[in-house]
Symmetry: C2
Subunit: 341 residues, 2 copies
């Protein structure tokens, strides 16, 4: 069993730097495309044998030091009773956005074992097959709320912020319900065997720090605090585009803080204090020629050397256009430069 | 003549805090919509009488302390020889993206007086009518390049970064040409009477600092340095979503640094050093109820009190959905709380 990832999460010394990539199981891989061509995205998420297979692919192909469950942050939101569609090119769509107390009242807080058994089955299946740790995950409540309130992706998040600013009670009622769902969902993942849990706060970078503190952070803290009571798996919190929020994200209670590429990794390490650090090369830097890509990785490893546990990752999800060969170059470089025998 | 804005740009004490809003002349105003309903967006930009009229509207209606030329950052790019379209809902489109040395070679560096006389005529017209200073502007080269390379707006800027990383010579050739165009364009605006000049680096927040330093900053510096040789109008540099770039943007040579809302204004003031500071309330905060909006503005004025010149602004352009009455509340609050008689 390769335990470097979990050791780094716990701030322990590792023989070399563990590496995994956000969205490592995904569209850039021909092996993934082959399976995906036969089923829809949601079917893939909901079929444990297939979800487990695509989860394993990048670990087997590139030698990543952790696997991350193949799923989507909106799966538990669908289980709250919302019709969810993934349309080609447009991303996720909730046809009935949640913008009233009535809509909030109608949301169910599902029992994960009943509502999303396929996720837990996938985890169990993976644990029987993996030689690396398995990361489970969920969206953080603010990020999930933006999808529910906007009805899908957004650029300026007008409806979300309008609700925050003009109907704060409604907003907080919605967030409390999403938080209850997410908390139960992550606890169920831990029970099923997930060995680390990552909270993705993909859109939190659109908030001023004062608004993050009021409208997003308390719900992250609540989930992490709930988890602490029932499990000791490491918890990773990734606040995307959150460099001005680090004074607050360090108080969320996570073991590991993930960073996007805008903050130099040395600065991230300095701000993370006692937390382990995960990140953060620009996913587009994977398009650099081999020599420059390797140089950039070497520089990052040097700059991150004082981290209290360091996990190499991208600063955001890998793009579908990325040549798999470049992923191999990057993973090998992280391992080689950090002393993997 | 109301000179508070120019005084603040120069770091002088002002009787009260001057305020203007990015995109203050625009779609949220019924008075703008009335004119816009008769002509296309590009026609409006290219008709000096109409462009001047919509420029004046928000100054007359709300008492802003500066006017900003009504135009678009892509106007000079069209003058380089590129077919530009604005499609409803999709934003700007360059049907022939610039992705080869041949395409770069075909770009013209236009003489502003010949290629965009309407911009300079608008400036002259406005100077004869305005009781506040007039701000001219241009896009910063990196931001302009993204539109040319992507062929329009983008989310991940794949083509831009691929060119930077895989064809740096081509990328730098393109940037040099855009820079020459922008430099001449801003100098012509100053000659025509613009009393301050703002460089909008709207997309620079997608760059890691090391890439910003190599692929964006040198061109900003070059434009500002060219301007210094021929004019003493204050220069404002707005690096949107650039909080991790402040160690570099402070070396660009600008008089004033603009900030988006992600960085608390007190931190912006601290990082700006000797620069005057412009910004930075979340444009969506204009949807707050009156009392909270006023409180937020009062807090900002307090936190910005040590600035070496402070100009109140939004942290990004105003949204079309903003109720004009909220703009009035904000402008009045800035003036009242900062001691305007």
């Amino acid at each position: 069993m390769n335990d470097t990832f979990l050791q780094a999460c716990r701030g322990e010394r590792t023989a070399y730097t563990p590496v995994w990539f956000m969205r490592q199981a995904g569209r850039y891989l021909p092996e993934y495309q082959k399976i995906r061509s036969k089923v829809s995205f949601l079917e893939l998420c909901k079929t444990p044998e297939l979800a487990a297979e695509v989860t394993l692919q990048p670990v087997d192909i590139f030698g990543f030091d952790a696997a991350i469950l193949f799923s989507d942050i909106l799966i538990p939101m669908e289980a709250m009773g919302l019709a969810l569609e993934f349309s080609e090119g447009k991303g996720p769509i909730f046809a009935n956005p949640v913008r009233s107390q009535k809509a909030v009242d109608e949301l169910v807080v599902p029992v994960p074992e009943e509502a999303v058994p396929f996720v837990l089955d996938t985890i169990r299946l993976l644990r029987s097959q993996l030689q690396t740790p398995l990361i489970g995950f969920a969206g953080a409540p603010f990020t999930l709320a933006t999808y529910l309130i906007e009805g899908g992706s957004s650029k300026v998040f007008l409806n979300t912020k309008k609700m925050m600013f003009q109907e704060p009670k409604l907003y907080h009622n919605l967030l409390a319900k999403i938080t209850a769902c997410t908390s139960a969902y992550l606890q169920a993942q831990a029970r099923a065997g997930a060995q680390a849990l990552q909270l993705f706060d993909s859109w939190v970078g659109i908030l001023a720090p004062c608004d993050y503190q009021e409208f997003a952070l308390p719900y992250v803290r609540s989930i992490i605090s709930d988890l602490r009571a029932v499990t000791d798996v490491p918890i990773i919190y990734f606040a995307n585009n959150g460099s001005t929020l680090t004074g607050l994200t360090t108080t969320a209670g996570a073991d590991v803080l993930g960073f996007d590429w805008r903050l130099p990794i040395g600065d991230a390490v300095a701000r993370a204090g006692q937390h382990a650090v995960q990140g953060n090369i620009d996913p587009l830097a994977l398009f650099l020629p081999k020599k420059q890509l390797e140089e950039r990785i070497q520089t990052m490893l040097t700059e991150a050397r004082d981290a209290n546990g360091y996990i190499f990752n991208l600063g955001h999800g890998i793009l579908p256009e990325t040549p798999p060969e470049q992923v191999r170059i990057a993973v090998d470089a992280v391992h080689r430069f950090s002393g993997k025998p």
